[in-house]
C-alpha cells in the first residue's frame, strides 16, 4: 500500500513538475509567434502625426502655420444605410449628397476617402451619430493667414502636407518633422493604458523657421507694387528690399501673385518667385558696376573727363546713341556720366577697361553666378564668355547682352552700400527645434571683397548725385534723407526669335537709403508698363515711397546735412571744386532756408504747420494745451533768446 502511495506521489510530482516546467518555458524562453500573439492582444500602436513647423517673420508674426484637422474615410461594406449616411454627411460637410453617395455606393470597395482636411467641429458633429464604417485620421492643414502676402516666396504644400514650392519645399525636411509611432498597452475596449507612469501628450513638431522678412514692410511693398501695376498698366512688378549691411532680405515680391491657401487656381508662372528665378537685361542700373570697376582698376578717376560725342558714337558699323536725343552730352566727368546715365560715356569707359577686366568685375559683383541664397530656384543670369567684340562690350556696359535677376542686382548694390563686400543674401534668420529649444541662427556669409572701402565711398557719393540736381533719378528722392541709386530702362527681349519687343521695356530703380549710412538697399521694377516706361518715371516714385516707409519704420532719423554727412573722399566734378561737388551732390537736399532770428507770427496755426515752418531751425519747442496756437513766448516779432526756446500756448 505504502509503495503504491509513493508511486502515486512521484507520478503527481512529475506531472506538476512538467506543468511548471512548461509554464516556465512559455514564460521565460523567447518565442516569436507567442510574443506576436500577446502583442496583438494587449498592445496597440498609436500613430502621432507630426505637426508642420510654423514660418514666422522677424517680429514673430505668423506667416504659415498648421491647423489640426481630420480626414474622413469609409468602409462602404460596413455602412448599413449608405444613402442616409451620404445625406447626413453631405449636410454636415456642405456638399452635394449625390457626390458623397457616389463615393460610398460601391460595396466591394473597403476604403474610400469621404473628405480630406475637415474641421474639428464638423468631425465632432459626425462622431455624435456613431455611424459604423466611418473612420477619422488626424492630419494637419497648412494655413497662410495673410493670404497672398509673400506667397511666391513661402510657396505652398500638397494635400499630404509635403512642400511643393518656395520655402515650404526648400525647408521641407526641417518643417515636416518626424511622425512618431508609440506602442502602448490597451484594455479590452482598446483604450490605451498608462505605461511606466507615461502617457503621450505631446504631438511631435517640425522646426519653426524665423525669416528676416518684416511682414509690415512686405505688405507695404506689395500694396505699392499693386498700385503701380495698375497705374502704369504693367504686366508685372518686382521688388527686393535688403538690409544694406548683411544682405538679409526684408521684403521680396513678384506680382501678380497668388493665394498660398489656394495654389491650384494660379498658373505655374505666377507661383514662381520671379525676383529670384527670372533674369533679364538690367539696362542702365549696370553702369554703376562698370564705373566702380573702372575706379577700382584706376582706369579712370571720378573727375576724369569723357567726350560723349554729342549723342552719337560709332563703333565699327554700329552707332551707340543716348536713350533720348535730348540726353546728348559733350565733355563731362565720370560722375556726370553716371548722374546723366550716358550710354556713350559708359561705353567709352568699358572700352578702355577692356572685356576681360569688365567681365571679371561683373563676376566679382555676383553676376553670372549663384550667390548661394537660401531661396529655391535661384537663377545665375547670363554673362557671355570672352572674347567680346567692341560692340558687345559697349552693349554690356549699359546693361544689354547680359542678364541678372532682381535679387542679384539688389545684392550687388548692397556691396557698394556696405563698403565693398559682397554678402550672400539670406531670408532665414533662425531655425528653432521646438522639442529641444535649440536655435540655429544664420550668420552673414561674406562671399568676397569686391571693391575697396574708398571706391565704395566714392560710388555712394556718385550715386547720391543721381538723385540730385539734374540727375536721372530725382523722382526717387525721399524728403529728409539722402538717397543713392540708379535708374534703369531695359528693352524687353523677345521670348521667341532675336531682338527686342517693340515698345516693351522694364523700368527699374536700384538704390540705398540713407546714402551716407545705408540701412536699406531697394530694387523696384515694372515689367512691360504701357503707361510710361522710363525707370525714372515708373520705378523712381515707387522706390521713393517704399524707401520713405522703410526708414520711418526702422526709426532712422532724417539728416541735417552738414560736413559730417558728406564723404571725406574727394570726388571732383569736371572743373568744380570739392565744395561745389558736395553742393551739386546734395544741392536739393541741403537746407538753404535762412535761420530765423525773430519769432514769426504763428497765431492760429496747427502744431503740424508750426513744425513744418521750424524744421531745421534748431528751435526747442515747448507746448502748453491743445489745439491751435493762441500766443507764443517770445511773442511774434521778438528776437529768440540764446537757447532758442519758444513756448507755444495752444487753445482748442
Amino acid at each position: 500500500m505504502k509503495s503504491k502511495i509513493i508511486t502515486l506521489f512521484i507520478f503527481i510530482c512529475v506531472l506538476w513538475s512538467a506543468l511548471i516546467f512548461r509554464a516556465a518555458y512559455l514564460q521565460f524562453v523567447p518565442h516569436e509567434k507567442l510574443n506576436a500573439l500577446q502583442e496583438k492582444q494587449f498592445q496597440t500602436v498609436v500613430s502621432l502625426p507630426s505637426r508642420r513647423g510654423s514660418i514666422v517673420d522677424r517680429n514673430g508674426k505668423d506667416l504659415a502655420m498648421s491647423s489640426p484637422t481630420y480626414s474622413i474615410y469609409a468602409d462602404p461594406k460596413i455602412i448599413e444605410d449608405r444613402k442616409a449616411t451620404a445625406k447626413l454627411l453631405a449636410k454636415i460637410l456642405k456638399e452635394n449628397s449625390n457626390v458623397v453617395y457616389a463615393k460610398i455606393k460601391d460595396k466591394s470597395k473597403r476604403f474610400v476617402w469621404i473628405e480630406r482636411l475637415v474641421s474639428v467641429s464638423q468631425v465632432e458633429e459626425i462622431k455624435t451619430f456613431k455611424i459604423r464604417g466611418l473612420g477619422f485620421v488626424e492630419e494637419w492643414k497648412r494655413v497662410y493667414p495673410n493670404d497672398q502676402l509673400l506667397a511666391t516666396t513661402l510657396g505652398f504644400v500638397g494635400k499630404e502636407g509635403q512642400g511643393l514650392e518656395g520655402l515650404e519645399l526648400f525647408y521641407d525636411e526641417q518643417l515636416k518633422g518626424e511622425s512618431k509611432k508609440v506602442s502602448m498597452r490597451k484594455d479590452a475596449r482598446g483604450r490605451p493604458l498608462i505605461q511606466d507612469g507615461m502617457l503621450f501628450t505631446e504631438t511631435p513638431q517640425g522646426k519653426e523657421i524665423k525669416l528676416t522678412i518684416d511682414s509690415d514692410l512686405q505688405y507695404f511693398v506689395e500694396t505699392e507694387l499693386k498700385q503701380a501695376l495698375i497705374k502704369h498698366d504693367a504686366e508685372g512688378a518686382y521688388a527686393v528690399v535688403l538690409d544694406a549691411k548683411t544682405s538679409a532680405i526684408r521684403a521680396i515680391a513678384s506680382l501678380p501673385s497668388f493665394d498660398s491657401n489656394n495654389p491650384a487656381k494660379a498658373t505655374p508662372g505666377l507661383r514662381r518667385n520671379r525676383s529670384v528665378t527670372d533674369t533679364y537685361e538690367p539696362g542702365s542700373t549696370l553702369k554703376t558696376f562698370v564705373i566702380a570697376q573702372a575706379l577700382e582698376e584706376k582706369v579712370y578717376q571720378a573727375n576724369s573727363k569723357i567726350w560723349c560725342e554729342n549723342g552719337a558714337f560709332r563703333i565699327g558699323k554700329r552707332v551707340i546713341r543716348e536713350a533720348e536725343a535730348n540726353h546728348s552730352q559733350g565733355l563731362i566727368s565720370v560722375s556726370e556720366v553716371l548722374a546723366y546715365s550716358s550710354n556713350i560715356g559708359t561705353s567709352k569707359i568699358a572700352l578702355k577697361l577692356g572685356d576681360e577686366k569688365l567681365r571679371q568685375g561683373l563676376m566679382k559683383f555676383g553676376f553670372g553666378q549663384k550667390a548661394g541664397t537660401d531661396l529655391p530656384g535661384e537663377a545665375k543670369g547670363i554673362i557671355l564668355n570672352l572674347p567680346w567684340r567692341d560692340h558687345l562690350l559697349a552693349n554690356v556696359s549699359f546693361g544689354q547682352g547680359m542678364t541678372a535677376s532682381p535679387l542679384q542686382m539688389a545684392n550687388a548694390y548692397a556691396a557698394i552700400a556696405n563698403g565693398g563686400v559682397l554678402n550672400a543674401p539670406h531670408i532665414v534668420e533662425s531655425i528653432t527645434d521646438l522639442e529641444t529649444n535649440k536655435t540655429t541662427t544664420t550668420e552673414t556669409k561674406q562671399i568676397r571683397r569686391v571693391i575697396s572701402e574708398e571706391t565704395a565711398q566714392q560710388m555712394r557719393l556718385m550715386l547720391a548725385s543721381v538723385t540730385s540736381g539734374r540727375g536721372s533719378g530725382v523722382s526717387a528722392r525721399v524728403e529728409g534723407y539722402i538717397v543713392g541709386g540708379k535708374t534703369g530702362t531695359a528693352q524687353k527681349v523677345k521670348s521667341e526669335g532675336r531682338g527686342y519687343i517693340k515698345g516693351g521695356y522694364i523700368g527699374s530703380f536700384t538704390g540705398f537709403i540713407p546714402a551716407n549710412d545705408p540701412q536699406y538697399v531697394i530694387y523696384v521694377a515694372l515689367d512691360y508698363p504701357k503707361k510710361g516706361y522710363y525707370g525714372s518715371q515708373v520705378a523712381g516714385p515707387l522706390f521713393s515711397s517704399i524707401a520713405s516707409y522703410a526708414v520711418r519704420r526702422e526709426g532712422v532719423a532724417p539728416e541735417v546735412l552738414g560736413e559730417k554727412n558728406i564723404s571725406s573722399v574727394p570726388v571732383a566734378q569736371s572743373e568744380k571744386t570739392e565744395k561745389e561737388v558736395e553742393q551739386f551732390a546734395y544741392a536739393d537736399l541741403n537746407n538753404t532756408t535762412a535761420t530765423l532770428t525773430t519769432v514769426p507770427d504763428f497765431k492760429d496755426l496747427s502744431i503740424r504747420e508750426v513744425l513744418q515752418k521750424t524744421a531745421n531751425q534748431n528751435i526747442k519747442l515747448k507746448m502748453i494745451g491743445r489745439g491751435k496756437v493762441e500766443q507764443t513766448q517770445p511773442a511774434a516779432g521778438e528776437a529768440f533768446g540764446d537757447d532758442r526756446t519758444m513756448t507755444l500756448i495752444l487753445k482748442e
Binding site: 493667414p145 501628450t201 541735417v560 513744425l611 524744421a615 531751425q617
Partner: protein, 105 residues
C-alpha cells in the same frame, strides 16, 4: 494573552496577512487602472484645448493681418493713408516737450 494563544493564532495571522496583501495588490492595480483612465481623459481634454488654442492663434493671425487692419481703418474708420505732405520730418535740431498749465513738463 498567553504565549499558547499567540501560537494558536499564528496560522490565522499568516493567512490573513497573505490574503490582505493580495487584496491590497489587487486594489492598487485597480486604482492604477482607474487613474490611468482619468489621465487618458485629461490627456484628451488637454490635447483638445491645445488644438483650440492653435485655432485661436490662427484666428488672431487672420484678424491682425495688415490687409484687414488697413481695410478696417479705411472703410469703418474712414481713415486715409498718410501722404508725403503730411509727414513731418523732425531732425535732431528740433526738440519738443509738452508742458502742463502751470508750465511744468
Amino acid at each position: 494573552m498567553s504565549s499558547e494563544h499567540v501560537r494558536q493564532l499564528k496560522p490565522f495571522l499568516s493567512v490573513f496577512f497573505v490574503i490582505s496583501t493580495l487584496f491590497t495588490v489587487v486594489f492598487l492595480k485597480m486604482e492604477e487602472r482607474r487613474m490611468s483612465y482619468v489621465v487618458l481623459k485629461n490627456t484628451r481634454e488637454f490635447k483638445k484645448n491645445k488644438e483650440m488654442k492653435k485655432q485661436k492663434e490662427i484666428q488672431l493671425a487672420k484678424l491682425t493681418r495688415p490687409q484687414l487692419v488697413e481695410n478696417t481703418a479705411k472703410q469703418r474708420l474712414t481713415l486715409k493713408r498718410a501722404t508725403q505732405a503730411q509727414i513731418i520730418h523732425l531732425n535732431p535740431s528740433v526738440s519738443l516737450s509738452y508742458l502742463n498749465k502751470e508750465g511744468r513738463p
